[in-house]
Symmetry: C2
Amino acid sequence: MTQPPLEPEDRPRLSADELAALLDTLPPEELISELETLHPEDAAELLSRLPADVVHELKPGQKLLDVVEEFADDDAADVIARLNEDTQEFLLEELTEGETVEQLMAYDPKTAGGLMTTDIVTVRSGTNAGQAIEQIRKHAGEDGKSIFQVYVVDESNRLKGVLPLGRLVPLAPDKPVDAVMDEPEAVAAPNEDQELVARTMARYNVTAMPVVNDKGLLLGEITFDDVIDVVEAEQTEDLLKFGGMEALDTPYTQIQLGKMIQKRAGWLLILFISEMFTATAMGRFEGEIQRAVVLALFIPLIISSGGNSGSQATSLIIRAMALGEVTLKDWWRVAVRELPSGVTLGLILGAVGFLRISIWQAVGWYDYGPYHWRVAFAVGASLVGVVTFGGLAGSMLPFVLKRFGFDPASASAPFVATLVDVTGIIIYFSVASVVLSGTVL
Amino acid sequence: MTQPPLEPEDRPRLSADELAALLDTLPPEELISELETLHPEDAAELLSRLPADVVHELKPGQKLLDVVEEFADDDAADVIARLNEDTQEFLLEELTEGETVEQLMAYDPKTAGGLMTTDIVTVRSGTNAGQAIEQIRKHAGEDGKSIFQVYVVDESNRLKGVLPLGRLVPLAPDKPVDAVMDEPEAVAAPNEDQELVARTMARYNVTAMPVVNDKGLLLGEITFDDVIDVVEAEQTEDLLKFGGMEALDTPYTQIQLGKMIQKRAGWLLILFISEMFTATAMGRFEGEIQRAVVLALFIPLIISSGGNSGSQATSLIIRAMALGEVTLKDWWRVAVRELPSGVTLGLILGAVGFLRISIWQAVGWYDYGPYHWRVAFAVGASLVGVVTFGGLAGSMLPFVLKRFGFDPASASAPFVATLVDVTGIIIYFSVASVVLSGTVL
C-alpha cells in the first residue's frame, strides 16, 4: 500500500533555511516538478524569490497551472505579473479564479490593492451569529485557518463593520452581528501605499484590514503576513539605498553578476563625478599645498570626519521621517538641534586632533615644521567647522529631497560624504590661510 | 444627563500621527491624567515612547495603577521594567496580575519570553469543539478580539496542538479538537532572540506562535502585533548603526540634546582616531607630495571611491545576512563574486578618471604638468585597485565581525570608509611611485 499524496494545504511548511537551501541548489529546469511537492505558500515564496530572467522563461503548461491553482489569489497575481506574456495569458485563461486574479493585477503591486486578497467572508447586516458561523463553514469547508474576521456589509456591499472571530465565537446563535461588530477603524484605500498600510496595521494591532474604495464598497482584505513581507522588503530597500546603491529585485545569492554590477555602477558613477569637484577645489589650493605640504596630510582626516557626522545625522532623519516622527515642516526644529550638536561634536574631535599633532610633535614622532602650533590649531578649528557643516548638511538633505518630491531615503551615506568632502576642503584651506597667514602661506 | 465614561477597551484608538502629536505637546507632568483617557494599547505605546528619564520619575499612585491595570500582561511587564524601584514594587504588589507580570519581567525583553503574553486559551486534549467554544466564552466574556487560536495541551500542560479559530468555528460541537488541530510547527523557546521569532512567524504566516520550554510545557504566546514592533525597532537600529552611531532608545524628537550627542560622540571618536592613520600614511609619502603636488589633488577622489564601493558591498551583505540568505560559511562564495564586480566597477571609474584628467589637460582647464599622461594613468590604475579593495573589504567585514561574535550590522558605512581610506592612500602612492618613477618621483 502506498501513502496517498498529501493535499497541498497539508504539506509541511519549509523553514526559512530550508527555503534558502532549495533556492541555492535547485537548477531552474527542475523547478516546476519541485514546486508541485511544496505547500502552496512555499511554492509562491520560492517563485517570488527566483531571478527575474528565470521566472520570465517559464512556459505555459498544465504543471505550472496546477501549482498556481493552489495559490491564494493575491499570491497568484504577484507571481503571474512576473511571467512572460504567453504564460500570463494561458494562466489567466485557465485558472478557476482567472478573472479575479486579472482584476488584482490591475493594481500597482506596491499599493493596498496589490496586496489584498478577495477571498474573504462577508455577511449581510442583520445576520445573526449562527448564520455568520454557517457562512464561515460554507466558505471554508473544513479549513478556515486563514479566516480571522468576518465583514458585515449592506445590500450594496458597503462595509458596515468588522467582527473578529474571537468575538463571534462566544455569541449566542440568535445574537445579531450588528450589535457586537466593531466600527471599521483601520481601513485602506486601494491605491494607498503599502508602507502606510503596514504602519496602520501595526498601530491598530489588526490581523487583517479591509480595503474599501471611495464609494465605501468592500473590495478585499490585507492580512498581516503580507504586511510583514512589505516591512522586510522596505527595510532591505532602505538599507541598500543608504549604502549608496539601487535596491536589488533578487536576493544577493541569486542575482547575476552583470545585473548586480549594473545596480551598483549607476550610483558609484554619480558619486564619482560629484567627487571630482574635490580635485577642482584642491586645484585652487595647489599653491598653498606646495608651500605647506604638511597641510595635505590632514585632508582625509578632516573631510572624512565631516562625512561621518553627516552620515549619522542623515540616518537619524531618514528613520525619524519613515516612522512619522518628523515631517517636512519640522526642518527648522531639526536644524536648531543639529547646530549645537555639530559644534559640540566638532569641539570634541577638534580637541583630539589638536592634541594628536601636538603630542606627535612633542614626542618627536613627526616633525610638522616650525609652525606646528598653528598647523595643530588650523586642523582643530577646521574640524569644528567641518563636523558642524556635516551634521547640518546631513540632516537637511532628506528634507530637501522630500521637498522636491524625491525619496528622502535616497540621501545615502556616500552621497552625504561626497557633498561634505568638497565643502570640507574649502573650509580647511580657508581656515589654514587665516591661521598660517604671514608664516608659510 | 451626562454620558457614562467609555470602557477602556472601547475608547477610540489614536492614529500614528495623533500619538506623535500627543508626544510632542504633552508636558510630562500632565501625562498620567492623559493616559487615563486613552485606549490601554495607546497608553502603553505612549509610555514606551517617553524618554527614559521622564518614565523613571513616575511616582507610585492609584492613577498609574488604574492605567497599568488595563494593560495586557506583556505590555505591563515592558512598562514596569522602565520605572524606578519604588514604583515597580508598588505596582507589582497592587496589580491583580502582579505575580504573572513579575514572572514575565524575569525574561530578557529582547527574547520570546520577553515578548509573550500568558493570557491565552488552552483546552485539554480530548475536549470537543463545543467545549472549546465554551472555554473561549468563559475566558473572553463578550470580548475575545485578541484570541486567534486555542492551544491543546495534555494533563501536564505539554503542548499537543494548535487550533486556529477559523478552523474551530465550522466544526460540529461533538467533534474532538485533536482530530482537527495542527501540529505545532512554528514554536519559540523562551530565550529565543526576537529577530528569529519575527522571521519564523513571517515564514509560517502565523498570527500567534506558542512559547514552549525545553520540557515541552506551554508558557504563553507571541502575537503578530508585537512582532511588527520588533521588526520596526530592529530596522531603526540597523539603519542608525549603518549610519555610524549607537541606536537611540527614545525618538529623535524626544531625546535630550546631551543624550543624543553622547550616542553620536562614541563612534565618531573611534572613527576619528582610526582615520588618524591616514595622516600617518600620508606622512610616509610627504616627499612624494612635495615633488609632485599634483598627486595630492586626487587623494579625496580616490579614497572616497573605495569607501563608496565598500559601503555598497557592506549594505548588501548585512542585509543578506539579516534575511538568512548568506551565512558565515558563504564568505568564500561572496569573495569570489566581489572580486570580479570590484574589478569591473574599478575599470569603469578608472576610465572616467583617466578621461577627466586628459580632457581637462587637453582643453587647457588645468595644467597637470609635463607628465600628465602618467598622472592620469596612475589615477586610473589606482582607482581599479582601490575600488576592488573597497568591495572586498566591505563585503568581508560583516563576516569578520560575525566570526568574532560581534553584530555584523556594526559594519557601518563610515567604518568601512575609514578602513579603506588608509589602504587607498597606500595603494595610490605605491602605484604612482611605479608609474612616475624616473620622472618627478
